[in-house]
Every structure is written in structure tokens, then in C-alpha cells.
């Protein structure tokens, strides 16, 4: 057997194995380092701070856990959220994330490393991303081999599709969930392969952890049964499947019911019924197999098959019957909207109003996954070619997750791991083929020519690629090491194939392909770093813009306003805002809020929407009834910050309309031509709405008599701005992004505030003419 490039001789298999495992350990350590380091852009560029909206609640809950202990956290009733109602936090939260950082916090303190809980929260996601890389390595190792595992780990370490949800400071459930997802899947594959109840139990325990951490656990609950079902349908039932699935299901289901937020759902909702059905089916199939092993009569077997069929039909009918009867709850809106993509927009505007719940555009796939997106189908095809039991899992996962990621931007996160795994399988097969030094057997005259020309570039290959080195070290022709066997087994090169010899000849053909692959990998690294630093590392709490000279200008209006609230208002002052800012107000301003990002009570949100979208006279009683002291709006018209409340206003109208269709109608907020405008052509209802008035109050004055332009809507506003009778401007931040209004108390003389105001104004105008119409800022 000739080789394309010289290989070191005289190495013992033990040396080769030891070197390979050392290289693997070093590679995994470097991958973890890269995964952590690439997530720190936001911390280094800005500061160590919690980002976005949801993480602020998780952070607040973790602070309670760290300061008061687990038991207090478990029974925590938060009276400041959803102001008149309050929120039972312990029963409405997935506690896995908080518990994890609480444990880390306590361990660090036990080791005399007094780290602030905020830093534990900020750096939790990067830390767990390193664990995700390791779990992906283990998972891919089961699919192919260690080298594919390393590639997959390297991919998921830096791929932007996962970084986007796990940068430092993004303290969200997904931060630990993807690690748990991959590790649960790894344990499941291991349980299926070995037929071991131990791995089934470990999978169940990690499944429990996943249930405690993220609502996306439903994906696992349906993925594993689907895999088992497909295996059974393909006639691949084995006792290993029975052992693995049953030990996972019984322990996992009982364990998942311990989480208060999940409760009895695993036995009563449609999302979990697939797992139960497959569990029942497995019992029947296993029993049939048992009987079949004792009797070999074909007639009896067919009779049993009929029995199986009947039981299956009866079982399905029972499920359908129970669902129709209502014993089993139907799909919740959130899940149902994944199947019927128009459902949310029609019936649950609050789900459709979240930008992450929109369908994904093509460029997003490329931006998040770069060249993995076109290696991904190739990897799935390679799984089809081999089609062991565990390859089916990757195929099903790929098909399902691709669909979900296409329906919802947010679910790109669930797709990313399988993309990394499948691409790693494809790329590693390619590299196996082209680094494999064995030349195909051909007629004698060609062999010396190829080996002669290839001696010098061989050095180039061995230095450029670590994998090349490993393969070279592993391939001394006489010694049959595990790796050579492996290469021989996995390489699709047909050695000694009949007459027209197929295969790769010489070093140049190898070099072209390998160098091309390497350059793709390099570009991948550059792309990932670029996307991470530019797109996904901005903490949305502070807004950054660049000055003319390239220096960074930071707009910190949010914290300015929240800290004003924190320091200048009584601790019991209730703040009303749109639900997006609920968690941030509670986290940073530490004031009770009416609604927040946990949108569990749609009517309450609609109340806020109604108050915001109706006129002052209508809104004022609502505000007074809810003890609202301050109203907070986000206004981006001065700075061109497009995510402001005027742009979200139509959703408030829609959500309010869903509850009070008689009082709020969306068409009233459009011009007769059907345009959504804020300038002097805006509709009367729009101009009178509380949101419009609060946003544009005194805005025209800012331009000193010139035309007032709204930079977001690009519209010129009327010279005379709206007036407010029931609210006082309390605070407006530096760039006018956050505006806080104080709700006036009732007039002491019992007049309604509008006439009281008019009276006051009229008097003023009579007494001193030059005095401008200006209201004192409280």
C-alpha cells in the first residue's frame, strides 16, 4: 500500500492514541476559550451589565435567591409586579437558571471568592457555552468520531446563531438550556446505543434540569418519542430502545412534574401526549416481541399484528376522545401558532407583537450560520447514507428544527446545534477522505510517479493542518491502529475497486481540496467574530453611536430615567408603561409596575393599552383606579430611536381592541387614506390619544419656532403641540428617549381637571401678558 505523503514509522499504537487524546484535550480547551472570549465583546466595550428585558427579571429573582436563600425564593410572592394583582413568582417561573447561578454563587463564596451576584449572572452564559461545546463534542462523537466531534464543538463554540442568545450579560433561560438540550440528547443516544437504564436515567435527570430551565423542553419531549416512533415504524425495534426510552420516560415525566410551573401538564396537555402514546406503544410492541419469541407460528403472529393494529387505533381514538372531551388540554396558543402561522396574528396579537415571533428571512440563516448552512444538507445526506439508529435522530431533528426556525426567528437557536453537528459530520468526512494518505491501487507505472512528486509538499500539509498531522501520525502502513481502521472504515474511497480505479491520486488533488476547506473555516471564524462584535454585542440598555471622529458616544437615557425614578419618587409609586419595560423598571428603578414582560394576563395589558390609546378624559379614571402615580413612555423622535412607543402604538391599540372592541377601533388611528401619521394630517383620535400627547408634549418648543421634525417617522409636526390637563411632565431624559409623567391628583375643589386647568390658564393670561404658557416642571 503506497501513501501520498511520507508518514513517520515506528510509532507504537499507544503513542499515537496518547498523542491523539492530548491533542483532543488541548483542542477542547482552546475551543472553550474561544467560546468564552468571543462572548465578551459587550462586557469589554461597555460594561458588565444585564442586557435586554427578560434577563432583568431573572437577575432580580436571582438576587432574591442569593440573598434570602432557596426556600424564600421558592415561595416568593412579588407584590410589586402586576400591581394590583401581584405575581406568585415561585409557581410561574422556570427556576433552573436562578438555581444554577445561586449554586455557583454559593460555591464561589464557600471558596472565599466573594464575587458579586451580578457578575455571576453576566458571565453565566459564556461559561455554559463552553459546556455546550463539550456536550456537542460528545454528541457528535456518537454520530461519527472524535474528529467530527471536535469540528462540531468548534462550530458551536463560535457560531453566531447561538452567540446571539448567549453573550455575556444575556442572562436568559437559553443560556443554560442549549447545553442541557445537547447533553440530554447525548445521554439519550448513549442509552439507545447501549441499551442502558443508567444513561436513560441520566438523560431523565438532565431532562428534569432542562424542564426546570426552559419552556423549550417541549421540544425534547416530542423529539425523543418521535425518534422512537420512527425507529419502530422502520422495524428497528430493539430491547435497547425499550430500555432507553422507558427509563427516560418514567423517570423524566415524574421528575418534570416537580417543577411547579409545569405541574400536571405532562399528563394533561396535548404537547406531552406524544411521549405517553409512544410509551404505551412500546409496551405493546415489547409484549408482542415477547410472545413472538415463544411462538413461531406465522398465523399467530399475524393475529398479533391485527391485535397490535386494533390497540393502536383504540389508543389513538382514546386520545382524540379525551382531547375532545377536554380532559386533555388542547395545544396552547404559543405552540399552536407554530403550526397555523396565521393564528397568532388573528387571535392572540400579544404573541404576534413580539418581533422574535416573526418568520425568518433567508439572509438571517446565512448571517447566523455562514457556510454551515450549505454544509448542513450535505451532512444530513451523509446521515441518510449510513442510517444507524442515532443518525435517524439527527435527520428528524434537522427536519423539525429547520421547519421551526423557518416559522419563528427565535427558534433559530434550536436549529443551530443540529446544523453544527451535521456540518461537522459532512466536513469531517471530506477531510477524512482527502487527508487519508493511502493511494488507491492502480497499475504499477503510476504509483512511483505520484509518490516521487509528493515528498516535498507533504511537509506543507503536515504543518498547515492539525488534522493532517493527526492522520499522518495515525497512518503508519503496517501498524493497524484504531485510527487507521477508522479512517479505512469511514473513508468512502474504494480501495482496490474493479478496473477503472477510483480515488484520489497524488498530493496536489488532496492539497487543493484541503486548502479550500481550511480557507472556508478561516472565513467562518472571521465572519463569526465580525457578526458577534457588530450585531449581537450591544446591551440595548445603553445605546451607542459613533461620533464624526470615530469615537463612541453613549446614550444612557434609560438608566438616567430609571435612576431618577428610583431616587426621586416614593418607594410605593406605581409606574405604568407598556409591558416591554416592565422588567427593566422593576429591576433598575425598583418600583411597582402595572404590567411586565411576563404576559400572563392579557386583560391587564389591554387595560394599559386602552389607557395609552384613549383620550385623557377616558384614561384618567383608569389611571386613578389603578393607583398609577407615574406614566413612562419611550420616545425616539428626537434621536431617531425607532423602537419607541409610537411605533409600538398600533399593537397597544390592537390588544386593547381585542378586549374593548366598542371603545377602541384601530381604523380610527389612521388617516382617511389609511396612513399611520403623526403630523397635522393625523386623525383626531390619534392626536387626542394619551400616547400621542405624552410623546409630543412640548416637542415643538424644542425647535424654537422652526419646523419640528420627528426623526423616526420623518414627519413634520404641527407648530402647536398637544396640551396635557391630567398629567404633569415629571422628567424627560437628556435625549428625550424616556419621558415620565406624573398623574395629577383630583382637584381639591372637585372640578374636573380640564376645567380647573382652563380656569387657571385663563387667569394667568389676564394678569400678566408676557408670561409664556409654561408649566412648572415638578
Amino acid at each position: 500500500m503506497s501513501t501520498a505523503y511520507p508518514l513517520p514509522t515506528g510509532l507504537s499504537p499507544a503513542t499515537v492514541n496518547n498523542t491523539a487524546s492530548l491533542l483532543r484535550i488541548v483542542a477542547l480547551a482552546l475551543i472553550s476559550g474561544a467560546a468564552i472570549a468571543s462572548r465578551l465583546f459587550a462586557v469589554i466595550n461597555f460594561e458588565s451589565i444585564i442586557h435586554e428585558f427578560d434577563p432583568w427579571f431573572n437577575y432580580r429573582a436571582t438576587k432574591v435567591l442569593a440573598s434570602k436563600g432557596f426556600y424564600e425564593f421558592w415561595n416568593w410572592f412579588d407584590p410589586t409586579a402586576w400591581y394590583p394583582l401581584g405575581r406568585v413568582v415561585g409557581g410561574t417561573v422556570y427556576p433552573g437558571l436562578m438555581a444554577t447561578s445561586g449554586v455557583i454563587y454559593n460555591i464561589l463564596h464557600a471558596l472565599n471568592l466573594p464575587v458579586d451576584i451580578r457578575n455571576v449572572c453576566v458571565l453565566l452564559a459564556p461559561g455554559f457555552s463552553a459546556l455546550t461545546a463539550w456536550a456537542t463534542y460528545m454528541f457528535t462523537k456518537e454520530m461519527k468520531d472524535e474528529s467530527a466531534g471536535l469540528l462540531a464543538a468548534a462550530f458551536i463554540g463560535i457560531v453566531p446563531g447561538y452567540i446571539s442568545r448567549s453573550v455575556a450579560g444575556s442572562y436568559d433561560n437559553e443560556a443554560i438550556a442549549i447545553f442541557l438540550l445537547m447533553f440530554t440528547f447525548f445521554c439519550w443516544i448513549k442509552a439507545l446505543k447501549q441499551g442502558s437504564a443508567l444513561f436513560g436515567t441520566i438523560a431523565a435527570v438532565f431532562y428534569f434540569y432542562m424542564v426546570a430551565a426552559w419552556g423549550g423542553y417541549v421540544f425534547i419531549t416530542n423529539m425523543i418519542p418521535l425518534h422512537a416512533l420512527v425507529l419502530m415504524l422502520m422495524g428497528r425495534f430493539s430491547h435497547r430502545l425499550y430500555v432507553g426510552y422507558c427509563s427516560w420516560y418514567v423517570v423524566g415525566t415524574l421528575a418534570s412534574m416537580q417543577v411547579p410551573f409545569v405541574g400536571f401538564q405532562p399528563v394533561s396537555t396535548s404537547e406531552h401526549m406524544g411521549a405517553l402514546g409512544v410509551f404505551g406503544l412500546l409496551q405493546i410492541v415489547a409484549f408482542t416481541q415477547f410472545v413472538r419469541s415463544h411462538l413461531s407460528s406465522t398465523q399467530f403472529r399475524s393475529l398479533l399484528n391485527v391485535g397490535l393494529f386494533v390497540v393502536g387505533i383504540v389508543g389513538t381514538a382514546a386520545f382524540v376522545g379525551l382531547t375532545v372531551k377536554g380532559t386533555i388540554a388542547p395545544w396552547t396558543g404559543r405552540f399552536y401558532s407554530l403550526w397555523d402561522t396565521g393564528y397568532a396574528k388573528k387571535y392572540i396579537p400579544i404573541i404576534a407583537s413580539v418581533s422574535e415571533h416573526q418568520p425568518t428571512a433567508w439572509p438571517a440563516f446565512f448571517m447566523d450560520l455562514q457556510f454551515l448552512i450549505f454544509l448542513f444538507p450535505a451532512g444530513v445526506v451523509m446521515c441518510f447514507l449510513e442510517l444507524r439508529d442515532e443518525h435517524l435522530f439527527v435527520i428528524i431533528y434537522a427536519a423539525l428544527a429547520s421547519y421551526f426556525a423557518g416559522v419563528m426567528v427565535r427558534l433559530m437557536l434550536a436549529l443551530t446545534p443540529v446544523v453544527c453537528v451535521a456540518s461537522a459530520v459532512a466536513l469531517s468526512s471530506l477531510l477524512d477522505t482527502y487527508i487519508d494518505p493511502t493511494e488507491p491501487d492502480v497499475a504499477e507505472e503510476q504509483v512511483p510517479a505520484s509518490t516521487d512528486t509528493t515528498t516535498s509538499p507533504a511537509q506543507a500539509v503536515t504543518t498547515t493542518s492539525k488534522k493532517a498531522k493527526k492522520a499522518a501520525a495515525a497512518g503508519p502502513p503496517p501498524a493497524s491502529t484504531p485510527l487507521t481502521n477508522l479512517i479505512a472504515a469511514t473513508s468512502p474511497v474504494k480501495k482496490g475497486s474493479p478496473p477503472p480505479p477510483k480515488g484520489i491520486f497524488g498530493i496536489d488533488a488532496r492539497l487543493v481540496v484541503v486548502l479550500n476547506t481550511l480557507s472556508m473555516l478561516f472565513f467562518f471564524v472571521f465572519h463569526c467574530t465580525w457578526v458577534t462584535s457588530n450585531a449581537y454585542s450591544s446591551p440595548s440598555v445603553v445605546l451607542a453611536s459613533q461620533n464624526q471622529d470615530g469615537s463612541q458616544h453613549i446614550i444612557d437615557d434609560f438608566r438616567e430615567a430609571y435612576y431618577w425614578l428610583r431616587q426621586n419618587t416614593p418607594e410605593t409609586a406605581v409606574v405604568m408603561s407598556w409591558w416591554d419595560y416592565g422588567y427593566q423598571i422593576a429591576g433598575m428603578a425598583d418600583r411597582p409596575t402595572l404590567v411586565d414582560n411576563n404576559t400572563w394576563n392579557n386583560t391587564h395589558i389591554a387595560t394599559v393599552g386602552k389607557a395609552m390609546s384613549s383620550s385623557e378624559e377616558v384614561a384618567y379614571p383608569i389611571l386613578r383606579k389603578h393607583d398609577v402615580d407615574y406614566v413612562l413612555v419611550i420616545f425616539g423622535g428626537l434621536l431617531g430611536y425607532s423602537g419607541d412607543d409610537i411605533n409600538k402604538f398600533l399593537w397597544m391599540v390592537r390588544i386593547a381592541q381585542g378586549v374593548w372592541p366598542d371603545e377602541i377601533q384601530e381604523p380610527n388611528y389612521f388617516t382617511p387614506q389609511g396612513e399611520y401619521r403623526v403630523d397635522d394630517r393625523a386623525s383626531q383620535t390619534m392626536k387626542e390619544s394619551l400616547m400621542y400627547k405624552m410623546s409630543y408634549y412640548r416637542f415643538a418648543e424644542l425647535f424654537g419656532g422652526q419646523q419640528a421634525t420627528d426623526r423616526v417617522r420623518q414627519q413634520v409636526l404641527p407648530k402647536v403641540g398637544p396640551t396635557l390637563d391630567y398629567l404633569d411632565e415629571a422628567f424627560t431624559s437628556e435625549n428625550w428617549i424616556v419621558r415620565i409623567y406624573q398623574v395629577r391628583k383630583e382637584d381639591p375643589l372637585g372640578r374636573d381637571l380640564k376645567s380647573a386647568n382652563a380656569f387657571e390658564k385663563g387667569k394667568k393670561r389676564k394678569r400678566s401678558k408676557p408670561q409664556p404658557r409654561r408649566r412648572a416642571v415638578a
Binding site: G195, S247, M257, A286, V311
Partner: protein
Amino acid sequence: MAPKPTSPPATAVNPLQTLWKVYNDNTPHRLKFIDAFLFFLMLSGIIQFAYCILVSNYPYNAFLSGFSSTVGQFVLVASLRSQVNPQNKDEFKDVSPERAFADFAIGSIVLHFFVYNFLG
């Protein structure tokens, strides 16, 4: 969960008898012992379920934990049975009977930890 000693088709009386005979003749004592335990677990599960249907499911978590303890124990024992069954030796290459018993013990301990935690 299909009942163990009775088979769905009621018409085939003769095959049932042969099945019973073949089972009695060919099954090692160890497996018969396991099967006795399986039978007991099944009876316990049936009684609990019947009680739940006939009387009340009021402390629903108590019913669920009791019932899933029997169901879980049943499938874990059934797993153990298939792992130690000499007929399945080639299927479970990585799992020796001793390892299978250890797996079973660990699985049961974890299961019953959750059962007691859920009992309320």
C-alpha cells in the same frame, strides 16, 4: 400497558395454552421470579387506578406518584428482564447482567426519590 399473561385475541384459546406451556418450559427461574414481581406491580397499578376511577382522584399528585411509581418500577424491572435475558445477549453487548442490576438499582432510587418528593 398490555396485560401480561392474557393476550388481546380472545378467539385463540389454543395458542394461549401453548404460550403458557412454552413459557413455563423455556423460561429460567430467575426470569420467572422477575415476572412474578412484574405481575405483582401490575396488580398494584390496576388496584390504584381502579381506586382512582371509582372513588376519587382528589390528591391528584398522590395518585400520580403512586401510580407512576408502579408503572416506573414495572418498566425498569421489564428493562432489567430484557437485559439479563440470555436470548438478548447479542443485543446488549455493553451491559452485563451485573451492570444491568446496578443500572436498575440506580434508576429505581432516582425514581423513588422523585416519587417521595411528589407525594406531597
